[in-house]
Amino acid sequence: MINILNGRSGTKVPNARRRNELIFYTLMMIIPVIQVIIFYFVVNMNSILLSVKRFSYGTDGGLAGYTFAGLDNFKQCFYDLFNDFSLKSSFKNSLLAFGIQTLVMPWISMAFSYYIYKNRFGGKLFNIFLFLPSIISPLVITRIYAVILDDALPELITLVTGKVTLSIYNSHFFESLIFYYMLTSFGTSVLLYRGAMTAIDLSVMEAADLDGAVGIKGFIHVVFPLVYPTYVTFIVVGIASIFTNQLNLFSFATASAEKKYWTYGYFLYVKTATGGMSDYPYLAAMGLIFTMIAVPLTFTARKLLVKIGPSDH
C-alpha cells in the first residue's frame, strides 16, 4: 500500500501514528489559528461594524452606547481627507515617506550591501554601523538623536563659528525626521539585500567577472536581477505601509506633533491614543478607507513589478 503521509510506497502508516501526528499538528496550529481568527478576522469585522455606528455616553439622560450611524462616519472622513489640514499634510508627508522608502532607500541600501558583499575596504565596519540603529532601543536612539541635534551640534557650531546657533532639531524638525528615518531604514534592508547577494552562486559572479561585468555593470546586469525579488518585497511592503508609516513622529513628539508634520499613520495612532469611545467609529471608518485604497494598490503594484522586472535568465 502507498503511504499518503510519508510518501514511501509499500509502507502502511498505522492509524495510531496518523492520529498522533494529526493531534500534534492540530495542537501546534490551534493557537496561531485562534490568534488569526481573533486578531485578524474578529478585529477587522469589529472595525467594519464600528465604522457604521455612533457612540454616545448618554450623560443627559439620552441613550448610552452605540447606535447605527449609516455612512455618516465615512462622509465625515471623506470630507476631512480633502479639507482637514492635518490630513492634507498627511497626504504629502506619507507620500514623501513612501518615496523615500521605495525610490531612494532601496538603491542606497543595495549600494551599501553590494559594497559589503564585494568585501571592499571598511565593508564590515559599514555593516556594523548601518545595523546599529536597528538593534539599539528606539527610545534610546531617538533621545540621543534629539539631544545631538538640539544641543550638542548647535553648541559645537557655536564654538567653532562664534555665532550662536539654536536648536537644529527645532528649526529643521522635519528634515531631522527624514534623516533619522533614512538612517534607521538601513538595518533590515542591508541585512536582507546582503543575504540575497550572498545567496548568488559564486560561479555566476565569476562568469560575470570574466565577461567584464564588474563594478556597477556587474550590479546592474547580474546582481540586481538576482536580488530583484527582495527589491519587490520592499516596494510592496512600502506600498502596504503608506497609511501606517509614522516616520517615527510619535517617538520624537509623542502626541504633540504639529499638524504640518503628520502622516496618515501618525494621524490614526495619535487620534486613537488620545481619543475616547466616541472617536473610535470615525477612526474605524478612516482605517477602512485606507485599507480599501492600500489593498488593491499593493496587489496591483506587486503584479506589475513582477511582470516588468528582469528575469533570472
Binding site: 454616545s56 443627559d60 489640514f85 534629539a146 539631544v147 532639531y169 499638524k259 472617536d279
Partner: protein, 563 residues
Amino acid sequence: MKKIKLIALALASILTLGFTACGGTTPADPDPSGSSEIVNESIDASKTQIWIDHYNGGVGSAWFAPLKERFEAAYADYRIGDKVGVQLKLSNHKDMGSQQINSVSSSDMDVFLSEGFDYYDGIAKDLFLDITDVVTSMNSDGKTIESKYNEEQRRYYNYNGKYYGIPHYTIYTGLVYNITLFEDELLYLSANPSVNGGFITSLSDARSLGPDGKTGIIGGIDYSEDDGLPATYDEFFKVCDRMVANDIIPFTWSGIYGKAYFHGLLNRLTANYEGKEQLMLNFTYNGTATNLVKSINADGSVVLDDPTTITVDNGYEIYRSAGRYYALKFLERIGSNQDYYDYVNTSKTGSDSHTDAQTRYILSKYNRKSKPIAFLMDGAYWENEAYDVGAFSTLKTVYHVDRKDTKFGYMPLPRVDASHIGDPEVVLDNASSLAFINKNVEQRCPEKIEILKEFLKFANTDESLREYTVKTNNLKALDYDLTEEDVSSLAYFTQTLIKLKDKAEQVYPFDNNSKYVDNRSILNISATYVTDNYKFAAVALIDDKVSAKNYFNELVGYRRTKW
C-alpha cells in the same frame, strides 16, 4: 572564530551597562515621603491588603505615609475572615490614565489614584465601582464628600444619578514668578507712576494696587499679595521691558512641554476677561454670550457683537469671545521680542524637559553664567518636581542658598486694560485627576468592597484633605478649609496660590451635556486653542510669527466648520 567570540563577549559586556539603570534615580534631595519604604514594605499575611495604584507625578506621594498610619490605626480591628487589620500597599508609577485604561479590568489593584484617566470612558468600559454611597453618605468629619463638590463637579461626576469617581488633586497651570528677583531688582510698580518710570525705588515704597485693584485685608481676604504687580497687559510688558533693560530674561519654559503649558496661560487670561459665567458657555452651550467679537479694528481693538444666545447648535460662536482674542494678543506680544524669552533653551524642543526648565529657572538668579529669569511657565506642582531632581539641593550646595530663603509665587495675571482691573481672578483646574475603585473587585475580592469604600471616605475627610495639602504643597480638588497653622507650614509658592484662590473664582471647565461629553476630545479646555493648521498657539505666534488676529480668525473658522 576566536576573534568573533571576543567581539561578541565585548558587545555583551557593553549591554550589561544597561543594568546600571535598575537602581533607579538617586535624587540629590532625600525622598521626604518615605514612600519607597512603604512600597517595599513586606506583606503582613495577618492583615487584609488594600492595593493602591498611584500616579506618582509632579505632586508626589509624601501625603501617603501619614494617611496610611492613621487609616491602619483606625481599622486595626477590622476583620475579614481570619485577618485582623488592614495594610495599605502603594504601587507608584508614572503611567497616565490613558495608558492604563485597557489594563484596569485585569489589574489586581483595588483603588486607583490617577491622572489623565477619562471619567466617561471608564464608565463606558465598566471599569469603576459604583461609589454613590461613598460620595453621598455622611463622613466622619460630619460632611458628605458630595458637599465638597462645586456645581460643575456635581454635574460632571454624577452620571445618571450615580457617582463612580472622586476628583483627586488640582492641576493649575500658569505663571510662576520669582518674588526674590522682583524684590532685589525693584520690579514692582509704584503707587506713584510719575516717579522712576513708575517703578518703586525701595521695598518700602507704596506699590500700585495690582490686578485686583485693592489692597489690605478686606472681608478676611488679603488683597495685598498682588500689590505692585502689573495690572494690565501694557503694564506687564512695561515690566518686561524693564527686565530686559536690567539684563533679566522675563520668560522661560520647557522646550518640550512649554507649548502645551501656554494653553494653560491662554485659558487663564481668557478666563480672567470672560469671568466664570461666560467661560462656562464654552462647555455648557447654554446661556447668553456678551463678549463676542464682531470685528477687529486696525489698531487691534475689537468691536463687540450684540449679546448672542448660545445653544448646542451654535456653540461654535463662543470661540469668537474677546477674552480669547486678547489672550492671543498677549501671546503675540511675548513672541514679538526675542529678548522677552530664553530663546536658546526654549528652542530645544527635543531635549529641554520641564525639570531642566525648572532647574534653570531656580538657579538663574545665582548663576553668574546666565541671566536671571523672572517667569516660569509651568503647573502649580512644579516645586515638587524640581525638588525631586535635586534643583534645590544644587542651589544649596553650589550657591549656598537654602530653599526656605527662596520666594516664588503663583502670578496673578494682568487684565486686558484698566477698565478690567478689579475683575475677579479666575483659576482653572485641569480636572484630570481621579480616584476610583476597580470594578473587578466585585469578582476578585467582594469581601474587601466595604473597606475599600471606607478608605476612600477616610482619604477625603477634612483632616485627610488638609494633611494632603500640608505634605504635598498641592491642593485637593474639593472644597475644604486650611487652618492658619496649615497655611504657614506650606511652601511660600503654595501660600501665594492659596491667597490667590481665596479671592478668585474657581472654574472646573467641563459639563455633562452630551454635545460636550461626546466630543470632549476636541472641545475640552486643553484643545480650545487648536485650529485647523496648528495644535499649539505658541508655535504659531512665537515660532511662526502668525498674528493674533489671523490666528483668532482661523480658530473661529475652524470651530465653525468642525461643529
